[in-house]
Homo-oligomer: 631 residues x 2
């Protein structure tokens, strides 16, 4: 039963965003079965949804009951969030409280790794809907995408891959001015800002200069002119995302300049237009010799960026991945954040499930993101948590042109959840899961319970059957899907297990690579000591013998065997739970997810058997419970 106020909508919208809010309100109520009558501002007596648009560009809206009516007051942008908030709660059938909420961060965005040719790097839901055949495109889906983002509380997107190549380079020139402008206008209607990934050596690749040295006057001038042209022609352009000196991308190091000098030069170029620079911290030696046991990739972020704290312009945001290495299923929080006291930073999550099941295995990441946001660096008295230290958030997007947006239907919970967390980092992951389930599959209590249970268990399950205890990197090189325990062992990526007959892991305490010492004294002490180190991170921080005793008395090896057998069983249980929903869901959706579960089980069995066999062959120690390990 919808409240009485859904029968009428009062108020007029002045701006394009206000009008979009009104349109969404009408469409949303209609989709829920109402037939709202829109009656301008002339019906003071009736119960109605009353939209009050005020001037400005704030994202805030205030919702409150006024008698029988519901008032939504805010700027055009604010009204959009307010309307979606109202619609969400109506759909949930929840008693509606007052809402007076501002987002926690001014920048809450998705990073798309879409290539100009239409492919998506680490994309698991079809092809790009931003690019086709070397060109940007604006379609019906662009608008739906803007609606999708706004409905989750997001307000920005970077549409092209941080690895800028091919015709994506030309996004900076006038070549695609018209297409970019169309996309930007389409996004702007929903308050979504457009960002572009740029190549640091664009002045050479596009401008014909013989250098991209950030201190070179010609280079500065080129960027200045390019920005003038670009920002004048594209409304709503917010700035650039830059992957520099990282995995072969060009950057200031080539010219003996610091990361700060590189970022600041670009920051100066975009500043006249209110632009910002998102500067990635993913700088590490990606041509490491595996024989070199001194170099530790985990140290790289801090080693490169901590000394530069305070040297960046105000409109530079350091974008750092949540862990020190690369989006593994379990990593400690990047210590770099503990060192940035005078620098704006942006947390980069990844909802594209590159290392977490590639949207074939279900893996609800929101509990992990929440843990990371709650993480205390123990370095200052106040505002010490991740959520308080960062100034912005983004996630590598899990979308594509698949009809359901994310390939795996359940993967959409990660997009929704990331949006809600980015508005309010204290949101509860279980509540988000439940809410998402009701909004997606309806309010049948069994469905809600099953879906919420599956989502909430999924990360632990995935962790159990894949790489154990934070060690990471047992995946197939290149594809990053499926097990290959030694796949990266003799390669150049700095991700080594160094397992032998007796021991496994890299020692990162002070006797090892010293990575633990990048944390505050209190945390360093915690991680450094194998007894106090959280067990789920044991193999991230320490090299240990297989017979090391865990807190519960099991050996390290037995714990790994157990986890792998249990992980598979638990995945099977999730799959069976899903099967019981056959009669309660749209057949097409039910079947699609069921197929993904089949693949997940195949994958889980493969992980279980490969990891167990590999360790058994190394150690020749059998499973204590006599379960099957292939010799």
């Amino acid at each position: 039963m919808l409240p009485a106020y859904t029968k009428y909508i009062c108020g007029t919208a002045a701006t394009r965003q206000g009008k979009a809010a009104l349109r969404e309100l009408i469409a949303g109520l209609q989709a829920m079965g109402a037939s709202p009558e829109v009656c301008g501002s002339q019906t003071p007596g009736l119960p109605a949804v009353r939209l009050k648009e005020v001037p400005g560009s704030e994202e805030k809206a205030v919702l409150r009951r006024c008698g029988e009516s519901m008032e939504i007051a805010g700027t055009g942008r604010g009204l959009i969030y307010g309307v979606f908030h109202l619609l969400r709660h109506l759909a949930l059938g929840e008693e509606f409280p007052e809402w007076d909420s501002s987002p926690a961060y001014p920048i809450r965005m998705l990073d798309h790794w879409d290539n100009a040719d239409g492919s998506i790097e680490r994309g698991y839901a079809g092809s790009s809907f931003f690019f086709r055949n070397g060109k940007p495109i604006c379609t019906e889906r662009t608008r739906d995408y803007a609606r999708l983002l706004a409905s989750c509380g997001l307000n920005g997107c970077c549409i092209n891959n941080v690895n800028v190549h091919g015709s994506a380079l030309k996004l900076l020139t006038g070549s695609f001015k018209r297409e970019l402008r169309r996309i930007a206008l389409c996004l702007a209607e929903y308050g979504i800002s457009l960002w572009l990934s740029v190549s640091f050596s664009s002045p050479m690749e596009l401008g014909g200069l013989d250098t991209a040295d950030p201190l070179d006057e010609g280079v500065k001038q080129w960027w200045g002119e390019t920005c003038l042209r670009l920002f004048s022609s594209i409304p709503n352009l917010a700035g650039f995302l830059v992957k520099a000196d990282s995995e072969g991308r060009p950057g200031p190091h080539s010219y003996g300049r610091s990361q700060a000098e590189g970022a600041n030069m670009l920051a100066d170029a975009v500043r006249p237009f209110g632009g910002k620079i998102l500067w990635r911290c993913f700088v590490y030696n990606c041509t490491q010799d595996w024989r070199d046991a001194k170099t530790d990739r985990a140290r790289a972020q801090c080693d490169h960026f901590a000394p530069l704290d305070g040297e960046f312009r105000e409109n530079v945001f350091l974008q750092l991945k949540n862990g020190p290495v690369d989006f593994q299923i379990r990593e400690p929080v990047s210590p770099l954040l503990g060192h940035l006291e005078k620098t704006a930073s942006m947390m980069e999550f990844q909802i594209a499930q590159e290392y977490t099941g590639q949207q074939r295995d279900v893996c609800y990441l929101i509990p992990m993101f929440r843990d990371i946001l709650d993480f205390r660096f123990r370095a200052r008295r106040e505002n010490d948590r991740t959520a308080e230290r960062i100034s912005a958030v983004c996630a590598v997007s899990n979308t594509g042109d698949d009809y359901n947006w994310t390939g795996h239907d359940l993967a959409a919970a990660n997009l929704f959840g990331f949006g809600l967390l980015s508005w309010n980092p204290c949101a509860d992951p279980a509540e988000i899961a439940e809410e998402w389930s009701v909004l997606t599959f309806g309010d049948d209590p069994e469905v809600t319970k099953t879906v919420t249970d599956i989502l909430m268990r999924s990360r632990d399950v995935y962790e159990k059957y894949t790489a154990p205890l934070g060690i990471g990197w047992m995946c197939v090189p290149g594809t990053h899907y499926g097990p290959s325990p030694e796949g990266y062992e003799f390669d150049r990526w700095g991700t080594y297990l160094r397992a032998n007959h007796l021991e496994i892991g890299v020692e990162r305490g002070p006797e090892g690579t010293g990575f633990t010492e990048q944390y505050s004294a209190e945390l360093a002490a915690l991680y450094r000591n194998v007894k106090s180190c959280p067990e789920e991170l044991l193999l991230f921080f320490h090299r240990l013998p297989y017979n090391y005793r865990m807190k519960d008395g099991r050996t390290l090896l037995q714990r790994i065997y157990d986890d792998h057998f249990e992980g598979y069983e638990e995945a099977a249980a999730m799959s069976e739970a899903w099967d019981k929903l056959a009669d309660k869901l749209e057949p097409e959706v039910f079947r699609r997810v069921q197929e993904r579960f089949r693949e997940q089980l195949r994958c889980a069995a493969e992980w279980r058997d490969v990891v167990n066999t590999w360790l058994y062959r190394l150690t020749m120690i059998p499973d204590e419970k006599g379960r099957r390990i292939y010799p």
Copy 2:
């Protein structure tokens, strides 16, 4: 000093091939500094090269001294080989003996794995010169290629990849009739036949049929009509090469038909035009579960084809790889050949150095090919050697559009040597190497000695630093270059090491997979017994503990360590030997090969360290000589 008879050339050529022979003779003598006068048949008194063309299509020519003159008599095709023989010996400065030689095999060809898009599968010398942008092309290089083949004694080539995809499928239709005809005519002038790889399911892919069942009348009719059209428009088309039921390619098994039924249907279709079918025996389960220790890929050839002996048409040649698995640096000879008593067979070598250094590492394969040709199956009294059992030979080509044809200059010795062996399987690999060196780099004795030494040692050196004792498959999956000992271990390709802390290898004796029993009783007894098994094949045939004692008293593990240290040292010695030739070679050639040696040393060090480290971590047994193994 050239002989006096090089001043005059007497004789006229009637056919296009005879004219090509005359042209080559003139050009060849001119290149050696002579200025031969061509004087028809009117100069009986002068010392001259006297070409006598006789009718027919035999490949034979007879060379003999008549007083001061040199007579070359033969068919047009024969004259080509006769002229190249003469030129080669003049260039070598050798006292010229009479020559009255026929080739050992009527089909001596190269298989190109060139794709229609211009790429080459397993190509290491640039792009295709047969295809560009989806189409066949005929250029200056096509003619030079025909000359190259004829000068080495070869007489055929299959120009497109056995994995037929993309527009290569359309080679069977009229689409590329003109281009194919041009190529065929260009090759025909030098006696080179054209072959095409075809897809077994062409009737579906091209003809719109709903089956490719070889017993279906519509399918037979489609192939018959296709062959009529194709053979009428392309002169010199010799037949088809077919990869069926192999690594995902379609084949008769899909219709419950045997390999013989599939091959025979095609044989019937090409027979009216004198065509032949080269039917590959590379049929095995390429989706094996690594947990399945019963299935042995090495057995597959015999299991599939031995029972079919005698069931193939006369114009079918079974094309089998030299070993039972896939072109590794060391394999036993395929046992299948010992079972084919009533079936024509064709030995497939690979001069494309897929697993043997990819034309970055030098690896002269001719001694290995000679060993294989000399191999006795011990199954019958006479004609029991490989060379006597086979009816034809081919090699996967190592050419591309690199200026020097083969990328690594020294890799050209493999093409030359394969040609000479295919004419005369008793040719001596060392003599071939020496001859090639003189023809390529001139007759400086130091150069000849150094180059010959490098070539003759190169295979042993490569074998030492890569996968040991016939076990194979320690290469990086996909690229097949560089070490990755467990790269294939949990994959679907049937190539497992199954190494654990105590043992390594797959047992292929009767207690194991029984592969040894596919050989004759005498050979089976030899291989079955670990004591009599040739040591270089020990890990191909047997699973052994690391402390197994080799004949010289070393442990198996120590032997592997030693080989890897020595292999690197010997590669370094080859490289140093090359460096000493700096002043004796064209600078460009010297530098090019020097760079390849640098890469070979890098690669050899990588192989040495990765294989040794991997085994050390597994076994924890140190090198007895205390050399450096990274822990």
